[in-house]
């Protein structure tokens, strides 16, 4: 764990320094483009975590592995957070670029729907009292979601090009300079580390709540007194 945290801190500092200080100012967007270093990695993470959640859910569903169930549900809130960050930063970036807080841009719209999917997972888990049953429900839902996400994504892009034309795709730069790309990749890596750390924190709570009657929990309590 300390190892993980220090790696995370190191990479994040490097990524932020590279992104905020070293990378040159964009000639079109000025410094506002620096939001990219959190917006884009968050958007990547939001999808990545959903896939991890579905895979972990499937493993839990098929082999009844408790750890996989816990990883699946612990990922949900972290994934939802990244989705939320991608949305908000997208909007904050959009304001100076488009002059309005919200544009029905393909990526933002997909992120919004993805956020709903995450909220559905979290809501469903919360609504079912028996946590083992709830994990199965979440796994089924995540699998259904993961099959649907490409379809949803595709349909949104299709809809977007139809209604707005290609002018709004400012966010997807055709080519990106290396000095801008490296911090971006560093930040993506940093977010992955963060995901693992945060997910493990949540997983510890989940595990504790599920196994509250197990001997190891009792030992832990007696030990802490």
């Amino acid at each position: 764990m300390p190892w993980l945290v220090s790696a995370f801190v190191l990479i994040t500092v490097a990524g932020l320094y590279g992104g905020l200080v070293l990378a040159p100012t964009d000639y079109q967007q000025g410094d506002s483009y620096r939001i990219i270093y959190i917006h884009v990695p968050s958007a990547w993470m939001s999808l990545f975590i959903y896939v991890v959640m579905a895979v972990a859910g499937a493993i839990g569903l098929v082999w009844h592995i408790k750890l996989a169930e816990i990883v699946a549900i612990s990922s949900a809130s972290v994934g939802a957070s990244f989705t939320f960050i991608a949305l908000v930063t997208g909007s904050l970036w959009g304001k100076p670029m488009w002059g309005t807080w919200w544009v029905w841009d393909a990526r933002l719209t997909s992120e919004l729907i993805l956020l709903f999917l995450y909220l559905g997972v979290i809501g469903l888990y919360g609504a079912i009292d028996d946590k083992r049953t709830a994990s199965r429900a979440v796994a089924i839902l995540a699998l259904v979601g993961v099959v649907n996400i490409p379809i949803i994504h595709y349909s949104v892009i299709w809809w977007n090009t139809l209604h707005q034309g290609p002018t709004v795709t400012k966010m997807d730069k055709p080519s990106i300079h290396v000095s801008m790309l490296i911090p971006l990749l560093l930040m993506a890596l940093s977010f992955k580390f963060f995901y693992v750390i945060a997910m493990l924190q949540r997983a510890r709570v989940e595990l504790l709540q599920r196994e509250r009657n197990a001997q190891w929990v009792k030992n832990l309590i007696s030990g802490s007194k």
Partner: protein, 203 residues
Amino acid sequence: MIPKLQGIGLSCIRDDRLLFEQLAFEVLSGQILLLEGKNGSGKTSLLRIVCGFRQPDSGEIRWCGDAVNDSQFYAQMAYVGHLDGVKRELSVLENLKIAQSLNATGQYSINEALCKVNLAGYDDVLVQALSAGQKRRLSLARLLITANVLWILDEPFTSLDKQGIALIETLMTEHCANGGMIVLTSHHDIDLNDVDVLRINLS
């Protein structure tokens, strides 16, 4: 293949409470397994584990020596639970026909089964017009019209009068004599001649 139902190392945790642990049983053809215990002791949970509705927290159920395989196991078992599993808006006959089409055909026809549970002549009556006891008997008639070796009964005697209870006891004796087996829960102690009754007390 000799039908055999086994539970191996079963445990069940419900709402944070350990209901049973390392429970094992074996039921053979012609035997009855009676689950006893006070309310909330896990009788119904155990039945639902046997049905495959619930995953045990450890252990497994075996049918004929193998881990339960749904379609093969379900073709040989029938379940009557707390809920009657009959539709109120359908007639007695319609309900039984559905049951028949969902399962393999049993040794009795619908008419014979209705006679056996004292519901002869009720074919066209809607279920919502039946009394609780009649509904119970209707759901038991389902056991007779479908092919099954194993009966799983959750409190089969509730809402039945003395006659109804005697009726079920006869049906159970007959079923065991024909090589069937039964797992049931009951508050009411069963007293059957010539049937080997195993007991598990869960409290």
